[in-house]
Structure formats: structure tokens, C-alpha cells
């Protein structure tokens, strides 16, 4: 579905990727892991066309990313940023409604409003509808932005650390929603920090280190490899037919 070929990228003098090649399959829940500064966010920003000053090629279904119009691309790929600073106190529903922008030119219709409300329902936050977005906590705002992404309804959903700032309940809540979206046929690519969550819920795992990307099967848990990637010790626990990876 998505192929990245001969990707070269640097921030000023700092080379991030020299010759990166990878392929992401359709309909999978893909986790991208690595230490801070390993280029995880950069990679997904390049894929989501937020970072465009790279060399190499990114293709979606064999078509070069740059050849899509912005409108068509936003129906294909949706992106959830790591942080968002709101300035004005929009109503939650109005924020979600902006996710429908790819489907009209100037004004949203009744149908767009209905879709936005059901996106809020999907996350069980319909009661936020008339509240001011700026008055919500960071975690609640993230849930709203995820509803906006669901209202946008792209085939591929790219998320940058969706679980930061969330309490434990909401972390699992979001992961389960993402899982459901994959069942509905969406593809998900997300940057994650929690190795244990990644091994429990993702279908494919990709690790970034020193500008290289390494794909690992989730059943093949290689402790030595993980310790080399993250410079911490790990432990595996077997419980209820699941392997749980813990950092210690």
C-alpha cells in the first residue's frame, strides 16, 4: 500500500535518513517504535506529506504522493499530530466538523453534522458536543481530534504518539477504537512509546535506529534486539496465552 523508496532527509546538517526503504501493508495496525530522535515522527510526517523537503519517493498504491491533490490526499490519509495548541474556544462539534472539509467546498451540510456527531458517539464523548474545546483537558482534546479524524474518514490513519497525556483507561479506549477501525478496513500507522502495548495490540512492528528501519514479526520477540534498540532491559511474561513485554 505505502512504499518508501530511497528516502533521504536531514534537518540542517543532521542527517536523519540516508537511504531508507520500507513497505507498509494495507489493513494492518502498524506500530513504529524507537528512541527519541530516531526519526519516527519525521518518517510519518513525510508519509503524511507534512514534511516535503525530502529526496526519494513515497508512493500510495503505486502512485507518487505528490501527484495527489490536497483534497484527494486528505480523503486518503488522515494525520493526528502529537500536540495541538488551540487558540479560540470553538465548540467541540465545530472542531469535529472541520474534519469534513474534504467533502464540501464552503459550508458543511446536515449530513456532515450527523457524521460528526456519530464520530463523537464512536468515542463515547457525545456529551462533549457543546462544550468549549479549549476548556477540555489535553487528553480529552486528543479524543476530540481523533473524532475529527474519524469524521474525515480517510483510508489510512497516521498517528503521532496518540497515547501521551492520556490516563490508563483512555489509552486502552483509544487502542481499542483503533483496533475496530482496522477491522472496518482502515490502515493504521502509529508512533508508539510503550513497547508492551505495541506487542499486545499491533499487527506489524517497525523499529527505527540510526536511520535504519527494521521490521519485526510480533510473535518473534527478540529481547537482545529490543535491548539494543532502547538501551534498557526487558522481561517477557506469559499470561492468558499472551506474551507481555515489560521494561525493567
Amino acid at each position: 500500500m505505502i512504499s518508501v523508496e530511497k528516502l533521504q532527509f536531514s534537518y540542517g546538517d543532521r542527517l536523519i535518513f540516508n537511504d531508507l526503504n520500507c513497505f507498509f501493508e494495507k489493513g494492518r495496525f502498524i506500530g513504529i517504535l524507537g528512541k527519541n530522535g530516531s526519526g519516527k515522527s519525521t518518517l510519518i510526517k513525510i508519509i503524511a506529506r507534512f514534511e516535503r523537503s525530502y529526496k526519494g519517493e513515497v508512493r500510495f498504491h503505486q502512485k507518487i504522493a505528490e501527484s495527489f491533490s490536497m483534497k484527494d490526499f486528505s480523503k486518503l490519509v488522515g494525520y493526528l499530530p502529537q500536540i495541538h495548541y488551540p487558540i479560540y474556544p470553538y465548540k467541540v462539534l465545530d472542531v469535529v466538523l472541520t474534519g469534513r472539509m474534504p467533502y464540501f467546498s464552503f459550508y458543511p451540510t446536515k449530513k456532515d453534522i450527523d457524521i460528526s456527531v456519530s464520530a463523537l458517539q464512536k468515542l463515547n464523548i457525545e456529551h462533549f458536543k457543546d462544550r468549549r474545546y479549549t476548556e477540555l483537558s489535553g487528553g480529552e482534546q486528543k479524543l476530540v481530534l481523533l473524532s475529527r479524524l474519524i469524521a474525515q474518514n480517510p483510508d489510512i490513519i497516521i498517528l503521532d504518539e496518540p497515547l501521551t497525556n492520556l490516563d490508563l483507561h483512555n489509552q486502552i479506549h483509544i487502542i481499542k477504537i483503533l483496533k475496530d477501525l482496522v477491522k472496518e478496513g482502515k490502515s493504521i500507522i502509529t508512533v508508539l512509546h510503550e513497547v508492551s502495548i505495541a506487542y499486545l495490540y499491533c499487527d506489524d512492528l517497525y523499529f527505527l535506529k540510526d536511520g535504519e528501519i527494521i521490521k519485526k514479526e510480533k510473535d518473534d520477540i527478540d529481547i537482545d534486539f529490543l535491548e539494543k534498540i532502547f538501551n534498557v532491559s526487558f522481561k517477557i511474561i506469559f499470561d492468558e496465552n499472551k506474551y507481555i513485554v515489560l521494561k525493567v
Binding site: S74, I87, P89, T98, P102, R132
Partner: protein, 332 residues
């Protein structure tokens, strides 16, 4: 439904304010009672019928309508600028628009072969474009680079204006200063005809783009992620927002602070949704200036420039805005 009644209320309020504004002024002959008699009951037997008719149709009404359109234009422009630059301190004065127009008008006063309104309008637009392009030099245009560019451009045109004031002859200097203070007493039918089409076109254009402004107000990345190119949107919205304000400035001079006060009041009343804010700031801004202008020509025996009033009202408001919104601004 709620918005419908708000709209209805605004229209009724505007009509009442219009009537009172038409009835206020130096001539004691024109009273509210007589206006109603002449225009609604068509009472042609009034002895001063013709005189009052002329005062109203040729002097007062054009002035009230121009005041309304000027206030409305500056407010709508300020509202728009605050949304697309995501900065509650932005107004036509901040992005260099006002000082550009001021220089243009002063130039036209100094060299009478230049048409005043057209020149003011021309330099106002040049200032907006300069701000836009200076902000784009180097990296991606960011919110702070826009504000900085606005400061640079304002400073540039203000210094040009100072040079002009220094070299021009003293009689012309007086009219330049008068224009800079912002006033509406030169308003007439001819001026109204020159501005209303542009103002209405820009207003409806901005109304059409009001939801897209909501998307822009969430942030550039958030706009890009739903398929709007922030730079294109800024250009599509900035041009009419600049045009509507320079048109107002070209006819009325510098009437400060309206472009800042009204958008804030509107947001306090109806929230930040531009689909409501744009039409509401049109009405509120228009009515506000009509009221302030009526005051400025009836409170004293002489007429005080209306810009002086609005700026005086605006100063404490500006302090209030900085104090309450500062948390949000430190993030730039």
C-alpha cells in the same frame, strides 16, 4: 434558529439606530418626529419639507450609511485577520494596512493631481502585500513572522509619512493631520457610490469563506490535514480582508481600534464560529461606528473627529485583551 433571531435582532437594531442617527446633528430643524412625518406618512404640507428632505438625503443619510459601512468593514476585516493568523491581537492596524493607506492619502493631499481615495487604497494594498511577502522570505510564513513583518511595514510607511509631513507646506499639513485623525464629516453620496460595491462584494466573499476560516483558525497543520493549503487560503482570504479595510480607510481616514474591539465583543457574545461572527461583526461594527459618530457630532458645539473617540475607547479595551489573552499568546 438561534442565529436567525440574532440576525433579525441585528437588522431591527440597525434600523432604530439609523433613525436616531439621522435625527441627530447640528440642525435643530430635523427631529425624529418630522422625519417620520415626511418619509413614512409622506406629509408634504410641512413647510420645511424640501429643506429637511435635502438635509436627510444628501447629508445625513449618506453619512450614516458610510459610517455603517466603514465600521462594518474594519470589524469584518479585523475578525478575519484574527482568525487566519490565529492571533487575537491582530487588526488592520497591525498588518501595516492602516499606515500604508495613511501614507497614500497624505501623498495625495501633498500632490493634488493624485486621487485621494485611490492612492490611499493603492498604498494600503501595497502594505498588505509587502507584509505578506516579507513574512514569506526565508522559511515558511509563520504567525509571528506575519506580525513582525506587519511591524516592519507599519514602521516603514509611518516614517515615509513623517518625511512627507516635514516637507509639505503647512496648509496641506493641516488637512493631512485631520485625515489621520479619522473623520466622517466629508461623507457624501458621491463617496458612498465609490465604496459600497467593493465593500459588499468583499463582505459576501468573506462570508462564503467563513467556515474555511474556522478550519484555518484551528492551525495550519490542522488545515493541511483536511486538504486546505494554508498559503493559498491565506491569500484568498487576505486579499478581500485587505481590500474591504483599505476601502473604508480611504474614505474615512484612520479610525483606530474598531478592528480590534468589535471582533472581541462579537466573540464574547456568539463564540468564535466565523459563520456567525462575520455577519454579526458586520452589524455590530457598523452600528457601533454610527453611534460613536452621532455622539461625536452632537455632544459638543464643534465636531470632534470620530477616530479620536474610537481610539480612546479602544485603549482600555486593548489592555484588557492583553491581560486576559496573554496566556495564549506566549506560545508563539
Amino acid at each position: 434558529m438561534k442565529n436567525g433571531s440574532l440576525f433579525f435582532f441585528s437588522v431591527v437594531l440597525s434600523m432604530v439606530i439609523f433613525l436616531i442617527a439621522i435625527a441627530s446633528g447640528p440642525s435643530k430643524m430635523v427631529t425624529l418626529e418630522r422625519i417620520i412625518n415626511i418619509f413614512i406618512f409622506k406629509n408634504v404640507y410641512d413647510n420645511d419639507f424640501q429643506l429637511i428632505r435635502n438635509i436627510i438625503l444628501e447629508v445625513r443619510l449618506p453619512r450614516v450609511i458610510i459610517s455603517f459601512l466603514v465600521g462594518a468593514s474594519l470589524s469584518v476585516s479585523g475578525m478575519t485577520l484574527q482568525s487566519i493568523f490565529r492571533n487575537p491581537l491582530v487588526s488592520p492596524d497591525v498588518i501595516g494596512l492602516s499606515s500604508g493607506s495613511a501614507f497614500g492619502a497624505a501623498l495625495a493631499v501633498s500632490f493634488p493631481f493624485l486621487p485621494l481615495q485611490l492612492t490611499a487604497f493603492f498604498f494600503g494594498l501595497i502594505a498588505v502585500f509587502l507584509t505578506y511577502f516579507i513574512a514569506k522570505i526565508g522559511s515558511k510564513p509563520s504567525n509571528s513572522s506575519f506580525i513582525l513583518a506587519g511591524v516592519i511595514v507599519s514602521g516603514f510607511f509611518t516614517s515615509l509619512l513623517t518625511v512627507l509631513q516635514f516637507i509639505v507646506d503647512p496648509f496641506k499639513l493641516q488637512s493631512i493631520i485631520h485625515w489621520l485623525m479619522g473623520n466622517l464629516h466629508t461623507a457624501n453620496l458621491e463617496k458612498l457610490e465609490k465604496i459600497y460595491v467593493i465593500i459588499l462584494i468583499c463582505f459576501f466573499w468573506l462570508l462564503l469563506f467563513s467556515f474555511r476560516m474556522n478550519v484555518m483558525a484551528l492551525g495550519e497543520d490542522e488545515a493541511r490535514s483536511v486538504g486546505l493549503d494554508p498559503d493559498t487560503e491565506k491569500a484568498l482570504i487576505l486579499i478581500p480582508a485587505g481590500l474591504i479595510a483599505t476601502t473604508a480607510i480611504s474614505v474615512a481616514g484612520i479610525i483606530g481600534m474598531i478592528g480590534l474591539i468589535i471582533p472581541h465583543l462579537v466573540k464574547m457574545i456568539v463564540g468564535p464560529d466565523n459563520r456567525v461572527c462575520i455577519p454579526f461583526s458586520f452589524f455590530l461594527g457598523g452600528n457601533f461606528l454610527v453611534v460613536v459618530d452621532s455622539f461625536s457630532r452632537s455632544v459638543f458645539d464643534f465636531e470632534l473627529p470620530v477616530g479620536v473617540f474610537t481610539t480612546m475607547l479602544g485603549t482600555p479595551f486593548f489592555i484588557y485583551v492583553i491581560k486576559t489573552k496573554f496566556d495564549n499568546l506566549t506560545r508563539f
